[in-house]
Amino acid sequence: MIKQRSKIRMSSGITSPNFIEVTLYSALAFILFGQAPGRERNIKYASSLCIMIRGRAWVFGDDVDTDVIIPGKYLRTKDLRELAEHVMEGLDPSFSSRVQPGDLIVAGKNFGCGSSREQAPLALKLAGISCVVARSFARIFYRNAINIGLPLIEADVRCEPGEIVEVDLAQGKVVVGGREYTGRKLPDFLMEILNDGGLVAHRRKQRERGLV
């Protein structure tokens, strides 16, 4: 058998990946505007500060990968509705026919691991999923979801299938059946991208506002 010994040589502490991604967006705001996010006087965050999502929960476990979210055989399509028709097929073939607009997903750790296919968060969004709540997310999926405007929040939530879940993205709070969970709060700049419907729309709006 392989021998393994672990030695921490020097470590400055490894931070949660999603904290890192969230912070990245703040940093991007800083780079673009030269100020901390939300403090740019030309940007109004008033509407984005109260993103509330309320929906019925679909519950999945750990390591939900991009192949079960949308299998490779459907990726050739240009018809994006086809993605929604096959979303989560690998885990629950009846999902796409039963999911209702506004439903949300509650999952365990490492949600969206595997491929870099942006079609994965896109398929969930097109199927009507309003938010993904997971204990943690895989790095590329997290970035892709923000870029295409699918809200997500990192929170360790106990939840039964079909329960009503309320997510307050701005406060980083999730409420299920009277139980309140504190998740990772999204910075205002990230809320702005989500509010605009993703990075492409956000960039377009910035152009219209003469910010870039």
């Binding site: 392989i2 470590s11 991007l28 079960v68 490779g72 055989k73 943690s136 790095r139 892709n144 990075l199």
Partner: protein
């Protein structure tokens, strides 16, 4: 740790690459807006990136630098459907219009075509709309997978923001026993670390075992770094790297400092057994000797993980003159046209064909389940590729085991998962 300590410490290879790309000293944990040296898209994720580019930059816009972009077709080639053909047409037209190099349907898998044509250089920052872009780290580049919208942004500006990752150094010492390969090493490491155990980290492969490995063997390991969540997998450039790159690079490459800050884990491979990842998780890894009478329906020898000449040669050696077992379908796919030609000249293609296998043109094949060579409900695939997720190679009711080319060769002739040391 104090700020002073940080500022005096050396830099990891990743920190140095980001420092160069951001044109300032970059340290793990810092945010940088970095210039991209090379951007790659392929036929599956490319169309969305092109569409996003025009949406961001406007109709008639030009990409930031066509000489830094590579467009390849490898997932659904030659076109397996009209939709795939349309995607290829669209990307060909984009490449022509923008003056971007385009490797067409017979060239091979992006992660083999990129390095073998000098598009991957040590010290470079490379992004690709494919999660296995991390393969290129075998040549000392920092390479990572991104989504199509991020790529659209790169096409428009040539820049992308990153957080400079912490480095996890995986020190692998010892000599690999006969018929035990770098695939077995990386499977064991993923089994030990877990599917999200290296999330967001730069995994640096080092140690005496890695020093002895060829570029092909190193690529197998950096390729699968993403299967433990890593942002990149790297090997410090050495003599082996520079020999591989002699056509393109002569100057000294960037290396990390010995006093850099990183976390380190050690493995000794002197007694390592061949390993297998069982369905449906890449980190569900066991030694092959613990599996008894696992019957297989299909063997896939290929992919960006194990489709190179060395992989084909090893599998052929293990198979000897034996035919593929009755009832087993063996699909062999060289990773690129060049690797195919090497295998052809060495007589490997003929040996596989005589054994009853079929050798396909270079492409991703069954690996992503998006094209041909799929498995049906209840079938078992033994594959040298990198993922065994539910439905990855066809039916969600099928099962995929991941293994080395040696295990694939041994199992192809026996019809069940077999230890290659017993052949």
């Amino acid at each position: 740790m104090g700020v002073m300590g940080l500022s005096m410490a050396g830099q990891t290879l990743s920190e140095k690459i980001f420092s160069r790309a951001a044109n300032r000293e970059a340290r793990a944990g810092e945010f940088v807006m970095a210039s991209i040296d090379r951007a790659m898209i392929h036929d599956i994720t490319g169309p969305l990136a092109v569409r996003g580019f025009y949406e961001i930059a406007g109709r008639g816009a030009r990409v930031w630098d066509p000489s830094r972009i590579v467009i390849l077709f490898d997932h659904q080639v030659p076109a397996d459907s009209i939709k795939a053909a349309e995607n290829h047409q669209m990307l060909r037209a984009f490449a022509r219009e923008q003056g971007i190099i385009n490797y067409d349907v017979f060239s091979g898998i992006c992660h083999q075509v990129m390095p073998e044509n000098g598009h991957v250089l040590p010290g470079h920052l490379i992004v690709g709309t494919d999660s296995h872009t991390c393969t290129y780290g075998a040549l000392g580049a920092f390479a990572t997978g991104i989504g199509s919208t991020d790529m659209a942004s790169v096409f428009a500006t040539g820049k992308l923001w990153f957080m400079v990752p912490q480095t996890l150094r995986l020190v692998i010492d010892g000599r690999l026993p006969r018929r035990v390969t770098s695939k077995d090493v990386i499977l064991r490491i993923i089994g030990d670390i877990g599917a999200d155990g290296a999330n967001y980290l730069a995994c640096e492969f080092a140690g005496s075992a890695v020093e002895r490995m060829s570029v092909a063997e190193r690529m197998t390991m950096t390729n699968m770094s993403i299967e433990m969540g890593a942002k990149a997998g790297l090997v410090e450039p050495d003599r082996v790297t520079m020999t591989y790159l002699r056509e393109w690079v002569t100057e000294e490459p960037i290396r990390g400092d010995e006093d850099a800050i990183f976390t380190e884990r050690h493995w000794d491979v002197n007694d390592l057994e061949p390993q297998v990842a069982m369905p449906h998780r890449v980190d569900n890894v066991v030694p092959v000797s613990t599996l008894h009478h696992v019957k297989i329906d299909q063997v896939f020898l290929g992919s960006c993980t194990n489709g190179r000449f060395e992989d084909l040669k090893l599998a052929a050696e293990v198979m000897g003159d034996e035919p593929v077992a009755r009832g087993v379908r063996m699909i062999v796919i060289p990773a690129s046209r060049k690797e195919y030609m090497r295998a052809l000249r060495a007589g490997l293609i003929e040996r596989f064909m005589e054994a009853g296998a079929i050798v396909e043109s270079p492409c991703c094949g069954p690996c992503m389940g998006g094209s041909f060579g799929l498995i049906g409900p209840g079938e078992v695939s033994l594959s040298t590729s990198n993922r065994n997720f539910v439905g990855r190679q066809g039916s969600p009711q099928g099962e995929i085991y991941l293994c080395s080319p040696a295990v694939a060769g041994a199992s192809a002739i026996t019809g069940e998962i077999t230890d290659p040391r017993e052949i």
